[in-house]
Amino acid sequence: MTPPMSTLGSLVVGPIQFNRPVMLILIVILGVLSVLIARKSLAGLGMSSRWSALIIRILAISMIVGAMAYPVYRKSKDAVGVMLIVDASRSIPVASQIQIDQYINRAQEGSRQSDDLLGVITAAEGAYIQSTPSTHTRSVDRQFIGGTEGTNLAEAVNLAIATASKESSNRIVLITDANETDGSVLRAAQAARAVGIPIDVLAVEFDYTEEVIVDSVQAPSNVRVGDTTTVKVVITAIKPAAGRILLSLSGVPIDLNADENEIGKIVELSKGQNVFNVPVPVLRRGPQLYNAVFEPLAVLDDQGAAGATIGDSIRENNTGMAISFAGDEGIVLVVSESEEDSADLLATMANADIKAERITAAQLPSNLPELVSYEAVVLVNESAFSFSSTQQEMLRQYVHESGGGLVMVGGPESFGAGGWIGSPLADALPIRLDPPQKRQMPRGALVLVIHSVEIPKGVFYGKQICNAAVDALSRLDLVGIVEYQGFSGTDWVYPISPVGDRSAVRQSIQNLQFGDMPSFDPSLQLALQGLKNSSAGQKHCIVISDGDPSLSRNLLREFKQAGITISAVGVNPHSPGDTNTLRTMARTTGGKFYNVSNNALATLPQIFVKEAQTIRRALIWEGEPFSPAMTGVPTETMRGISGVPNIKGYVVAAEREGLALVTLRGKENDPIAAQWQYGLGKVITFTSDATTRWAPSWVAWDGFNQFWEQHIRWAMRPGGSATLRVNTEHFGERTRVIVEAFTPDGQRLEFANFRARVATPDGKGQIVEVKQVGPGRYEGDFDSANAGAYVVNMQYRAPGKEGNVLEGSAQAAVTRPFSSEFRSLKTNTPLLRQVASMTGGTVLTSDASASDLWRRDGLSKPITLTPVWLAFAMIGIAIFLLDVAVRRVRISPAAILASVRRSARREQDKSTGAADAMRLARTKARSRTGDDESRARKNRKFEAAPDAPAADVPIALKGETESDSPLAKPKRAIKEDEKPIDALSALRAAKQRAKDDMKEL
């Protein structure tokens, strides 16, 4: 037996672990008590019986007390579970990825046993499980691996720990180049060590010996139109090489070689860093986005002669970008789908000498640096559907991080009626786009009918589009979601109810299962009934499906009769028949049909926003013209304006609490004009319009120009009165901003107070602390580890002469053209060694046959604990019951043998005649009931003659009295008339005699 050992608060004896070992003390206490009690209670027994009874009694007590100590059966598992983490990032050459797979195929066989488990996780920008630990897994089968332009090994290790089987000893095998771009694998390794999982490592060895990297492209942050600026291209080559440099300005190639018939320039690179200066004339204002590309042609030998084609395998690091701002005076960007909507505003700005450009939403700059060159953006009657969510977020950043101004002018497609509710830009507005809660308005009802989205990341997109649709609704609108759930059939995931604060409906969306419904009918039937019973002005249903469930046309007619429209969104329909089903659904009910292919999935949320918008027309107020009330708040925007003309329409919105100022109010105090500072920028909303549609009196009003000029000028980014030179430089994964500031008269600007923010590629933005480090010199820095464009906006205030305040702003943009993933040129072997040694793992070699992933050494076997208290208790109770019997009953192998013989004899008896059998039976019956004279010799208990010798034959059912016991009573003789006549009577008589004996005691 294994010696007892203790774990924390438990006692282990052999395979049994007692989780409440303190209870075992009761065995000793009760054991002693039993002995003491036995001295009296068992005194009537013979020595042997007494000891037997005592031992059994103590055994019973031990088992019952053992049960109270909560025993569990410990069983160790021999299976080994290997979690393979395979680096799938782009830094691993494709050839190496194939080698990794081949290595795993060979290495995983090793000493693998049938119950050993293999799981596979890929690590790139994120970690994804390819196979959960399973005995079936035999190879690496890559499914969805996510983005590959990054390596997050820590996430993969944490995932491996989380998914490791509890039924096996576990090992993590990490196959990577260990060039992390996110997270810390060392920290994750500490977690693995804490749970006792060793990490074996296999370094994916590679060495880019002929790599060329465009380190950076540098250009001045600010230039002037007409200047010639110098763009500096820094290229690092591992080996001397020749290649072609191509440079473009905002996508237009710059001719670097005017003499020859090609645009690029052939250059020779020496080993190490090479710098090329390219003079570029600045011909137009605005942002200047320079893009440099190096095309490798050949390696060069020591004599400079071109040799073989260069093995530059990472092409992503052959590009670089830089941005300059060529500015003069501020320009306002007017976004309007029709000239008519913005004509009067543009005329006003022209009169006020504000330069403006009108574009449509489709022409909006696609990147923030370009947008930043505008001082303000005016959206005129623009719908949210016209902008992608990225563009909406960019507009928000433009205001918050870059200090640009935003003026949103109303119209039927604008604000809440234009689907802006819940959009990223809604946060930037000084009004709430939801109508006030107290406002009694007709509302819309929308039901989403969800089918399984059989596309990559289908669940992700499914939830995203549901959220987008719900976000576009106002808080008063009704929304419901129906889906087919495998277990419970078709049901409301979210019964039709007001959107409210969206938390409940969001939770329901999170719980969607996207079941594969066989038929549309039950879902549409529910939606129809729900919408019919709802009190809403406009009722609409959106169905998302691949179109293969069956559909009842009669049901569609019921929708039509109820005036409820269905828009059908077909995601990757399998056949023309499916497309036709969905088209029929939309056409019959008056909705729209959208056919979304796999490569247009990003448009799904926009479709849902647009669809949700169909019930948002209720937010438009149109009626008898009235003059909006001036709130009298003294603002720059309303300076000199004592009253405004009538309007006859606007989009209903609610006042926003906080620092927002409402300057004009409409019906029931709805905000018409409002303004506030949002981050570094300013925002104005005007919920009526600037045309004759809703404000005909305004266009003819002589204060029209003054009103709009003051509003637009207030929103515009402040111009600078000082001269700033802004430069940026990278150091590590951070970027430093250096500002040299001068007063208008050329003196260095001292004691300026800078507020600066940087808009980052992930859309989050961060504050930059810009501090004075020398005379007129200010510096700040920020994290720029991710690839993409970073736009820094700085606003300053500084004391000028005679108590004046100098203030203004400046921008700078820097780019990280490619991810750090593509800067890795060598395997980070030391890091891997550290991971292995920290966790007790080993460093594997590339020889697969020498790598046994299933070796048992170094692994701690898992113990499974099975509660066995019930077994203890039952055995204890059984023994306890037998404790009573042991003093009355004797078990004898000889008796068993005799019984078997009797049975055999009975078999023989069957061959005798019936009469003989009857006689024999009667004789036996007599024998059993005591009629037989020999009974007196067989049953001493009931035998009167005390001197009769004990017979070694089975006879009795009850206990006995030892003849040698000092307390034994003289045995009574059985009288003739007391003899029982059958077995039952004999038992009763015996019981009565036993009672009599006890009384006599």
Binding site: H136, D141, F487, S488, D578, A878, L881, R940, E962
Partner: protein
């Protein structure tokens, strides 16, 4: 049998050992007393079901399997399963090991949703698996046993037929196949169910030679629901997901199908005449049927109906529409079912394709066997 003896002649250690042994025996008897031979517990959960397969893309793992049939080959019992990885896996039901695996040739449009094991239309002695390649609008036929490949790739069938369309003999979404064989085991007719607008069962005559497969469209059974000016014809079908041929109590052959979106079971003569509809409501004591997907005929001419929506398998008397028994309850645990697609019976064991749980569950139930169905094909 236990004997008794008088005091004083027994070895104490032996006595104690006997007592403890008796106690253990008593405990074992009492602890095992609760075990019954029923295949389900009170909630309907299958007791003592054997689980084969799990979620995943490796051999022996499934991703939403949507077609399964069982067969005997050289004395062993196998299941063929097709899932959404477009793989057909042949699994040994005794060990759970996959002994054959291939992939269908194309799956860009979608994957198969049904299959049947029956004799080849060319060679009656050659077992074959007929795969309803639903989203490619055709039927594929592979010889059995399937070849084994650790990483199965696209494999051409021994023959395939079907093309997209609504005309007779064309398919939109074929779902299942049944084969009618003669006394020699040769296939005489193929029945193919479909949905997606053609909701019907097409019947093809087998006129194959020994070297060339030839099938000729003969007739159709059923009509797509609501295609007749929006009205509902008596034999209107909505997604017939599974079909099987049956010899009824009168000894006549008939076609049984699951009219799944109408939540009912249909019985048709082989000429297409409607005999009866069964369901959705069977009796007051049981839940109405919800999306019956699979049907298997037992030796006593009763049927096992696999309900995709109800997550249960019911045994039904097709003559009286009476529910005789039910197996399974919704859930993810052992003995529970999630959107089961079909079931089959082999060697007295019911094999359920527990699609939503990506596995097979196999159990024995009293009185269930399906040996006679070998005679008419469909589920040999």
């Amino acid at each position: 049998m236990i004997g008794f003896m008088s005091v004083g002649h027994q070895n104490h250690v032996q006595r104690i050992a006997y007592i403890i042994g008796a106690a253990l025996a008593a405990w074992l008897m009492t602890s095992s007393a609760g075990c019954t031979q029923r295949s389900t517990d009170e909630s309907g959960r299958l007791t003592n079901a054997t689980v084969l397969g799990e979620t995943g893309t490796h051999l022996g793992q499934f991703v939403y399997p949507r077609g399964m049939d069982v067969f005997e080959y050289e004395g062993n019992h196998y299941a063929v399963i097709v899932d959404k990885t477009a793989r057909l896996q042949m699994m040994d039901l005794a060990s759970g090991q996959v002994v054959g695996a291939i992939k269908v040739p194309e799956w860009d449009q979608g994957m198969p949703t049904g299959l049947t094991v029956a004799p080849s239309i060319i060679d009656p002695s050659q077992p074959a698996v007929y795969v309803a390649d639903t989203h490619e609008h055709r039927v594929l036929v592979y010889a059995l046993p399937l070849p084994m490949d650790d990483e199965p790739g696209p494999t051409s069938p021994i023959f395939a037929f079907g093309t997209y369309g609504q005309s007779p003999g064309e398919f939109i979404y074929p779902t299942d196949i049944a084969a009618r064989t003669n006394h020699h085991g040769a296939v005489e007719e193929l029945y193919i169910s479909e949905y997606g607008g053609n909701d019907r069962v097409s019947v093809f005559r087998n006129e194959s030679t020994k070297t060339k497969p030839i099938i000729v469209w003969d007739r159709a059974i059923g009509i797509a629901s609501e295609t007749v000016d929006g009205s509902e014809a008596p034999d209107a079908l909505s997604r017939p997901q599974s079909i099987v041929l049956r010899t009824n109590l009168a000894g006549e052959s008939e076609l049984v199908l699951t009219d799944s979106s109408h939540h009912r079971i249909g019985r048709f003569t082989l000429d297409g005449e409607l005999i009866s509809w069964i369901g959705p409501v069977l009796d007051q004591d049981s839940e109405p049927m919800r999306f019956p997907y699979g049907v298997t005929i037992l030796d006593d001419s009763t049927a096992l109906i696999t309900e995709f929506g109800g997550c249960v398998v019911r045994r039904i008397n097709l003559e009286t529409a009476e529910q005789l028994d039910s197996f399974g309850t919704p859930g993810r645990g052992d003995g529970e079912l999630a959107t089961p697609w079909s079931c089959s019976v082999i060697n007295g064991r019911v094999v359920i394709l527990d699609s939503g749980n990506n596995r097979l569950q196999m159990f024995r139930a009293a009185g269930i066997n399906a040996e006679q169905q070998l005679a008419i094909g469909g589920h040999p």
